[in-house]
């Protein structure tokens, strides 16, 4: 349990936090909710930098874009009236599925992303929303697609950077539907597979666009461009849903572990994708 921790910092700005992070030369950990870092108890950690006082807890709309600050908790997203409306409550329902209530009181969206877990429940919905990550690093702040940020975290390239906020555009609501699906051993257990899907139809029931993202089925949460492409421009029916779900299960490359075998996860990917798309169609007001 954190035997190595010598000091605790509570910066009030992002700049201070970055300064401390750089000075620590890899021996510091950023901590916000603490639900990952504290029980992890990494003994190589010498400094903790708590960013919960750095003013990064907010959900705001600027122009057509939503920004969610890195230290916004799952409970805040789950309870936010705006997030319950946005994309049919896609993000709110994913936040509500992220662990137990005790976890959601503390866990933050920034931690969920920066932790680099392939099973992070907010990753598929944010990927499906084409979210970007605003990063403060050695240079000026920059924005990058969330998918690139997650890949960089996975490659260990984000150790001296701080995720500041998540930005995404409000999706069009007309004839569109979104859905988040999670499958785990229990309701509060880590996801064996999670799926976020969205689609928009034209007046004749043709798919204008489809977005599908899955978590826990590869080293990174992934968008499914092949399945999305095969749906685009075609009339939505059960055969098309089955085809898209099949394509997803061909694309994923899950691991097997104590919770489930790789084959099982692959099968669940197919089933959950089908369910998610079916729900999307229903929420778009379209009967299959």
């Amino acid at each position: 349990m954190f035997e190595g921790v010598e000091a605790f910092y509570r910066p009030t700005t992002v700049r201070e936090a970055l300064h401390l992070l750089r000075k620590a030369k890899g021996t510091a950990r950023i901590v916000a909710g603490g639900t990952g870092v504290v029980p992890g108890g990494d003994r190589s950690v010498r400094f903790l930098i708590d960013i919960t006082r750095a003013g990064l807890s907010y959900i705001r709309k600027r122009g057509g874009a939503w920004t969610i600050g890195a230290t916004t908790t799952m409970a805040e997203i789950e309870d936010s009236a705006e997030m319950r409306m946005l994309a049919g409550g896609l993000l709110a329902s994913a936040a509500a599925a992220c662990g137990s209530v005790e976890i959601r009181s503390m866990a933050t969206v920034g931690g969920n992303m920066a932790n680099g877990s392939p099973a992070a429940d907010l990753a598929p919905p944010l990927l499906a929303l084409d979210a970007e990550a605003a990063i403060a690093g050695t240079a000026a702040r920059r924005k990058m697609p969330l998918a690139d940020y997650l890949a960089a975290v996975c490659a260990g390239k984000m150790k001296n950077a701080l995720l500041v906020e998540i930005v995404f555009l409000e999706p069009s609501a007309a004839r569109g539907g979104w859905c988040f699906q999670k499958f785990g051993r229990t309701a509060v257990d880590i996801s064996l597979v999670n799926v976020a899907a969205g689609l928009q139809l034209d007046a004749r029931g043709r798919v204008k666009w489809a977005r599908i993202a899955l978590g826990a089925v590869a080293p990174l949460p992934l968008r499914m461009p092949a399945a999305e492409a095969l749906m685009t421009g075609r009339i939505l029916d059960r055969a098309l849903l089955a085809e898209a779900a099949e394509s997803v299960s061909d694309t994923v490359h899950p691991i097997g572990d104590i919770r489930a075998s790789a084959d099982y996860r692959r099968e669940i990917s197919r089933v959950l994708t089908g369910r998610a798309l079916e729900q999307c169609a229903a929420r778009a007001g379209y009967s299959l």
Binding site: E6, A7, F8, P11, T13, K23, T35, V38, P39, E102
Partner: protein, 215 residues
């Protein structure tokens, strides 16, 4: 792990040699060694970065409505501060990894696992533990409902379940069985008394509505 208790705390009999006291004694001196830290740099850095540590730091926690002063190292979790430094032993330390819920307390109205909260991070927040709920003769409606429904067997998970139930009922005063099941999903009972617990929570909800104030 040397802790200093606030004299304002209810005085504890000091005569006994307790396990916790022993552990505290052994822990003394293991902390304060770390020096030569980021401090110098931090001093040169933008000044507002508050440094806490190295070594034990004095903090104040608001526990069950009373301010309590103690001295902890920055790495100490809230559950360890409660149990090992303050002898507030209602919350139990079981998995120590945010899974089982035995350490559940309420912080600023939200249920949290006290094993995932650093004690220094709990400063300025209102912490409620099982000790704040009624007395053995005048039980809180939730405790009474647990009693009436045999909602415990070995009892080790019970304080966590009761606090989780309190947090849950504050947000869901009229729960359904399914909501109770889902809302208490973060707590585990190895004896398997879930049916009793769920019934107890429903009963407590009814009692608290009737009783009003006590809840």
């Amino acid at each position: 792990m040397n802790s200093k208790k606030d004299p304002a705390l209810p005085a504890k009999p000091k005569n006994n040699f307790s396990r916790r006291g022993f552990m505290r004694g052994v822990g003394i001196g293991s902390g304060a060694l770390g020096t030569g830290l980021l401090e110098k740099e931090a001093a040169a850095a933008p000044a507002a970065a508050k440094v806490v540590g190295p070594g034990p730091v004095p903090i104040t926690l608001e526990i069950n409505g009373k301010p309590v002063h103690l001295t902890v190292e920055p790495r100490v979790t809230l559950i360890d501060a409660l149990r090992n430094h303050l002898d507030i032993t209602g919350a139990k330390k079981v998995c120590d990894r945010a899974t089982c819920g035995a350490c559940t307390v309420i912080m600023d109205g939200k249920t949290v696992y006290s094993c995932t909260v650093l004690a220094i991070d709990a400063q300025g927040k209102k912490i409620e533990t099982i000790e704040s709920l009624g007395t053995p003769t005048k039980r809180h409606p939730i405790s009474q409902a647990f009693w009436d429904n045999d909602a415990q067997q070995c009892g080790y998970c019970t304080p966590g379940f009761v606090m989780a139930s309190k947090g849950f009922l504050e947000e869901h005063p009229n729960p359904t069985m399914a909501e109770v099941e889902h809302g208490l999903g973060g707590n585990i009972c190895r004896c398997g008394t879930y049916m009793g617990i769920r019934k107890a929570v429903l009963e407590a909800a009814a009692a608290m509505k009737k009783g009003g104030k006590n809840g």
